[in-house]
Amino acid sequence: MQTVKMVVTGPFNSGKTAFIRSISEIEVVSTERKISLEVEKVKETTTVAMDFGRITVDDDLVLYLFGTPGQKRFDFMWEILSEGMLGFVVIVDSSRPETFREARFILDTFRAYAPTPYVVAANKQDIPEAWPVDDLRIALKLDPSVKCIPCVASDKEKVKTILLELLGSILQEIESGGKS
């Protein structure tokens, strides 16, 4: 049995857990705890170690999705989670520009950990305050070659699109001999 993994990362409350829940065939193994800091109380619970989802391809191959903890004080987990990943998804809450700088920092950090392909998911595009994808791309200073895709993490079809785009980038890198 071969297992491969992808990492789903992004700032606090960007939608990482919802993203994995939408696509995982198992109930997501989540390590959520009640939020203790007042400033972070925009939701009731947060992921403190990791979320863990699974997609079984066949008897020989399983894909694991690991969601990173969103709160900065748990960032020591990032390095552990990034080891051996095929690629990663950076989830950005398009409606909260105050998190864009952190999203960029997370993106750069994961690229430094492992230079694997990645895509940016412009999440929460279903709410009126969301920044358009083109504006988000400029705000995050994304290279034109980086895929920035509209996303609603609770929508399975949208999540599938993101993962397929990431797999497309990984395939492209393999076929180009790792030059892309």
Binding site: V57, M85, L86, R96, Y113, L164
Partner: protein, 272 residues
């Protein structure tokens, strides 16, 4: 969809850059700590601006640039042409009081000053109203944003450099134990003296800024100067952890055999 947020998270320089690159047309309003400002853009170029409720009208801009006296401005306000900036501009040109070029230069200067002022705002709620342009009776210009952004970036760079030198304003300052020869013949400005007068282990730099009504960048600039002159130093708390290093992990090798694996994964996800 809305383009809104706080300057704390998305600076004026970044906003102008976005409007420039995306060639946006519309009006950007920024509610700062004490005042409101708005800028209008057409195809990514700055065409109009307004500070507060009364700014942006031709009379106030000419007055701002000292091209009208207070009496002339009051007198013009009472004329029917004053309701329409274009008609007022024509009146002034036909009366040989101002040339068209002088009016346009005045508008340019007003807008440049307004944008440079906005660069110093680090807090403020902004909102971009797509497609909303100034009323037809206003005189508009077309200013390329590149130079304004360059100037903004320069000011931001200075701010960032100062922030690197003095990253945290929640620390106190103290006078150096043995100020060296550089302290001799030092001349302090009034603002520098005010800062110096508040230096005590009990006062953080943030409190000093608040007491003197100084912006963070102005306070940092003054403290940096005093530090360079060897007059003061920052009281650092003991036992601060060092910044974490980024260990580099090698990715798993991407062999041609893996292409088949990736295709199997993609097929499975499509089928979900």
């Amino acid at each position: 969809m809305a383009l809104q947020g706080n300057l704390r998270d998305f600076s004026v320089t970044k906003l102008l850059n976005l409007i420039h690159i995306a060639k946006k047309s519309g009006t950007l309003t920024i509610q700062g700590p004490n005042e409101l400002a708005s800028l209008a853009f057409l195809d990514g170029k700055l065409i109009y601006g307004q500070r507060g409720d009364e700014g942006g009208r031709l009379i106030s801009i000419l007055r701002y640039n000292h091209l009208l006296t207070e009496e002339q401005a009051t007198s013009l306000q009472n004329r029917p042409e004053a309701a329409n900036d274009k008609e007022l501009g024509l009146l002034l040109i036909h009366a040989n009081y101002l040339t068209q070029q002088a009016i346009l230069q005045s508008l340019h200067k007003y807008l440049n000053d307004l944008v440079f002022r906005l660069f110093t705002w680090s807090e403020g709620i902004f909102q971009f109203y797509l497609g909303i342009l100034p009323p037809d009776d206003r005189i508009t210009v077309r200013i390329d944003l590149e130079n304004l952004i360059m100037e903004g970036a320069r000011r931001m760079r200075e701010f960032e450099q100062l922030q690197e030198e003095i990253p945290n304003l929640d620390y106190a300052l103290k006078f150096t134990d043995r100020p060296d020869a550089r302290l001799r013949n030092i001349n302090l400005s009034v603002e520098e003296w005010r800062v110096v007068s508040y230096i005590s282990p009990k006062n953080t730099m943030r409190q000093i800024a608040r007491a003197n009504r100084l912006s963070e960048i102005d306070l940092r600039r003054i403290v940096y100067g005093l530090m360079q002159a060897g007059v003061v130093e920052i009281l650092l708390p003991e036992g601060l952890p060092p910044p974490p290093s980024l260990a580099k992990i090698q990715p798993i090798p991407k062999t041609p055999e893996q292409a088949g694996l990736i295709k199997r994964l993609a097929d499975r996800i499509r089928s979900l």
